[in-house]
């Protein structure tokens, strides 16, 4: 009874000033902070990629020394994965999940606050290594031992603690998301009525809980090898450097899906809206997501086809990896079928979602090629791989985040964004991405290894093209910031349901969404869709 009266008390507004943000337990505030943080890190990581592309514009050493180049590739990877893409996903989850499932907030609001506030400290610790004696981490984002232990710069200890903190933040975020989705759904909103974004985040959270502790274990073993004389990964002391790779990829492969599954969820919301047609094969989509997540846990050694595994190991990991193509294919076919005979319009979110569909499918093709173990001996550790995973991460994960931001920005700010500028942002990004990453497949096939600051002359033309594309893409993102600021400042007022084809509970609250929503759970109708 008491709980009931509490629920019905009048919602209060946020406190003012900086303390609002430090102390907030409001999912919308925290979501906003996650998104802003991720945008900042996107530019930090992006600046590093500009250094990389500038150095690779021509063969020879022009701008940076190899030591610094290695720090740039390492931190670019770490920051983009842990600082930009993952927090962007969590930010969207924070903002939208409670709205989508009719919950007043996340299940554990204080934990939520802490999950976020760990991030800036981890990020500062990570970036500060650049200014330490001996430089920052220079062993690649995969930090293979013993390059990252015995042979690492002194700042590696800070890197290890940064990874620990990021991991703790992710695990707490994941627990919170699971608890929210399982417990705080509006009455009668059954699991099979959930939007796919909720489903993909639920499954992603389980993946996070499964693999983040493994990553923490790996870096802890590194810490012991470096400071306490153990030899987990040191062959001279009886350790095993290959063990490191097994542990790392047991985390690292699911990590890829941790990044891409929420993207699947976003696209599954946007494509039906702008096709004005229900998502095709909803339950198949849920099952495909679950099976991708399961398979992602048993394919890790396909990153290690060249370490000298026994034949049976190679075969198992090759076949298991090829299997992932099946549920992934199902997803692509279902999205296509959703668009088919729809009534499609291409506002900016749909442009990004369509580009996701087309280019992610490309990444799927190169992924399928990479899964073939004998051919992988040629592709592995070349730019073919770099091209492949950048197609997964940029027009895949990043474009879906762009799509989500344009899709929901009016819900957050109460104003429509500038559609023309949005489209310009899309087309420049689309061109930039392809000019940057498509040629990488070619130089990779021709044999250019990744992570080198200098290369043989036959790779020069394609690298120059990649660099030009990279600069175009980089500069274009300033426009994104401008569009967001413009939209926050004002513009055309957004209605509650400003996309005519949209479904779901988030469209039943006004725009901007009030500080407290669904203080009373919404009515769920028996035979209506909420996805």
């Amino acid at each position: 009874m008491e709980a009931n009266t509490h629920l019905q008390s009048e919602p209060h507004g946020p406190p003012s000033g900086i303390m609002r943000w430090i102390l907030t337990t409001n999912h919308k505030d925290i979501g906003t902070m996650y998104l802003i943080f991720s945008l900042i890190m996107f530019f930090v990581g992006g600046a590093m990629s500009m250094v990389i592309r500038a150095e690779l514009f021509q063969p020879g050493l022009q701008i940076v020394e190899p030591e610094f180049f290695n720090q740039m590739t390492t931190l670019h990877g770490l920051i983009m994965v842990f600082g930009a893409i993952m927090p962007a996903g969590v930010g969207l989850a924070n903002w939208m999940l409670p709205l989508m499932i009719g919950a007043p907030d996340m299940a554990m609001p204080r934990l939520n606050n802490w999950s976020f506030w760990l991030l800036p400290f981890a990020a500062i610790m990570l970036v500060s290594t650049l200014f330490m004696e001996g430089g920052g981490p220079n062993f690649g984002w995969t930090f293979y031992a013993p390059l990252s232990t015995t042979y690492a710069p002194p700042s590696t200890t800070y890197f290890i603690f940064a990874v620990h903190i990021l991991g703790i933040s992710s695990i707490m975020g994941a627990i919170n998301i699971i608890a929210t989705i399982l417990n705080l759904r509006a009455p009668n909103l059954t699991m099979m009525k959930l939007p796919l974004f909720a489903w993909t985040w639920l499954i992603t959270s389980y993946l996070l809980i499964a693999v983040m502790p493994v990553l923490a274990g790996a870096v802890t073993m590194m810490l012991f090898d470096i400071h306490f004389g153990t030899s987990f990964f040191n062959a001279a002391g009886g350790g095993d450097p290959v063990l490191f790779q097994h542990i790392f990829w047991f985390f690292g492969h699911p990590e890829v899906y941790i990044i891409i599954l929420p993207a699947f969820g976003i696209v599954s919301s946007i494509i039906p809206t702008f096709s004005r047609k229900r998502l095709f094969g909803y339950s198949a989509m849920v099952w495909a997501t679950a099976s991708i997540a399961f398979l992602s846990l048993i394919v890790w050694a396909h990153h290690m086809f060249t370490v000298g595994m026994p034949l049976t190991g190679e075969l198992f990991f090759m076949l298991a990896t090829m299997l992932i193509a099946v549920p992934t294919g199902v997803k692509v076919f279902n999205w296509t079928a959703t668009m088919f005979r729809g009534s499609i319009s291409f506002e900016t979110p749909m442009l990004f979602a369509s580009a996701f569909l087309v280019l992610f499918t490309m990444a799927g093709f190169s992924g399928l090629m990479l899964s073939i173990a004998p051919a992988n001996m040629q592709y592995h550790d070349t730019y073919f791989v770099v091209g492949h995973f950048h197609y997964v991460l940029v027009p895949g994960a990043l474009f879906s985040v762009f799509a989500a931001v344009y899709y929901w920005l009016p819900k957050w700010t109460g104003y429509m964004y500038d559609e023309i500028l949005g489209k310009v942002h899309f087309w420049l990004s689309f061109i930039g991405v392809n000019v940057t990453f498509f040629p990488m497949h070619f130089v990779g096939l021709a044999g250019m290894p990744r992570r080198i600051p200098d290369y043989a002359l036959q790779f020069a033309d394609f690298n120059a093209i990649s660099s030009v594309g990279g600069f175009l893409f980089g500069v274009t993102q300033l426009l994104f910031v401008f569009i967001i600021i413009k939209c926050v400042k004002g513009g055309k007022k957004a209605s509650a349901k400003y996309w005519d084809g949209a479904h779901g509970l988030e469209w039943s609250v006004p725009s901007p969404a009030p500080y407290h929503t669904f203080v009373r759970p919404p009515e769920i109708e028996e035979d209506k869709d909420y996805f």
Binding site: L147, A235, V242, E314, M318, V330, R341, L368, P374, A456
Partner: protein
């Protein structure tokens, strides 16, 4: 739409016909295995194109034809168990079909029996050592591109970064087995023409083999990030006729014998300094820099270092250079350098830059040190 897909198809078909000589496709290579790998790659590529034409066909068709602005009305089908089963099963069958040749090639790669020549490949930061097992021939292979070309003061030659001082020599039409390992961090021996990429891992020995069909010079690179000069440890293999190979290895053996004899020769300080400078530039400068200043804190300076300057630390100095410093990038050079080179490089270190100690270390001193663990200067 159709025109577009035909266009795309032609574009990729032209890629196909380039048969591995182009700068943007995988090399067909010069061994049976590399040919199978290439065929596998092209088959996969073709399958992807076919699937792509169909999937993208539907996608673009919908995107173009079923637009609201064209007056398209949304139909409301959203489920069809039959089609779901079809598009789950067909990819599955395609995968099974692909897995057969892939498995076949993999088994071929893993067939290790009956090698005719065994070569041990040891990776070092940042060079390769090749050892012909049972022949007593062993040498290092270093990048040969001059610094001037790298920093752009001199025009880059066509083999820029893909040239070494001592290439690996193998005979054609013989099954050559490589035993790949590392002395420090993980590297990867990558030779595209043989479709070989094998990680060189400290504490492990990985086996891989090839049988090269054509005489020629083949170029590759280290493929696993191995520290600062990862981009600068190329691999060059020369495949020669059996005859040429035999005479080459004979010469190598004679050279090795001469080298061993040098150790008992009387050396002057000047000779040692000249030889030491060359060795230093080639081997040590990568970490300790040509000017001996190193790049602290990881790579210490040798100019002015106590170990290098103090008379009573000579034994310690010899020990560091011969046996390395455990758990650091400082390797045990006893396996890499001859006694003469070790003596020469130590003499050089102790007299170069500001270290004008006047100490001269002779090959015999090194030999004694290795045998007895003591430094007892003999020929003053």
């Amino acid at each position: 739409m159709q025109r577009l897909s035909v266009c795309v198809f032609l574009m990729f078909a032209s890629l196909w016909t380039c048969n591995g000589v182009s700068a943007f496709n995988m090399k067909k290579g010069v061994s049976d295995v590399s040919n199978s790998v290439y065929d596998l790659h092209m088959t996969m590529f073709f399958i992807c194109i076919c699937i792509g034409v169909i999937v993208y066909g539907f996608m673009f068709y919908a995107m173009i034809k079923h637009r609201k602005s064209k007056g398209a009305k949304a139909s409301n089908f959203h489920e069809n168990a039959f089609i779901e089963i079809v598009w789950t099963t067909i990819p599955f069958l395609i995968l099974i079909a692909i897995s057969i040749p892939a498995t076949h090639t993999l088994i071929k790669i893993y067939n290790q029996d009956d090698s005719e020549i065994d070569i041990k490949i040891t990776a070092y930061q940042w060079k390769w050592q090749y050892e012909y097992l049972g022949e007593g021939v062993s040498f290092f292979s270093n990048l040969q591109t001059p610094k001037e070309e790298i920093v752009g003061i001199r025009k880059k030659n066509p083999n820029y970064l893909l040239e070494v001082d001592n290439p690996l020599i193998i005979p054609v039409d013989k099954k050559v087995r490589f035993l790949v390992t590392s002395s420090d961090v993980i590297h990867s021996w990558f030779m595209p023409d043989f479709a070989i990429k094998r990680d060189a891992i400290p504490g492990f020995i990985n086996e891989i083999w090839t049988k090269v069909k054509y005489i020629g010079t083949y170029r590759g690179q280290c493929a696993e990030l191995c520290g600062k000069d990862h981009a600068y440890m190329p691999i060059v293999v020369e495949a020669k006729s059996q005859q040429e190979f035999d005479s080459w290895i004979k010469n190598k053996k004679i050279e090795a014998k001469k080298e061993r004899e040098l150790a008992s020769k009387k050396w002057s300080k000047q000779e040692l300094m000249t030889r030491g400078e060359a060795t230093y530039k080639k081997i040590c400068a990568a970490c300790h820099q040509p000017n001996g200043k190193g790049s602290p804190p990881v790579f210490p300076a040798l100019d002015g270092a106590a170990i290098v300057k103090d008379k009573d630390k000579i034994a310690h100095h010899i020990d560091i250079v011969t046996h390395g410093i455990k758990g650091t990038a400082m390797q045990a050079f006893i396996h890499q350098l001859s006694l003469v080179d070790i003596a020469a490089v130590i003499t050089y270190e102790r007299n170069a830059w500001g270290n004008k100690t006047g100490d001269v270390i002779y090959p015999q001193d090194i030999n004694n040190y290795i045998k007895t663990g003591k430094y007892q200067p003999q020929n003053k």
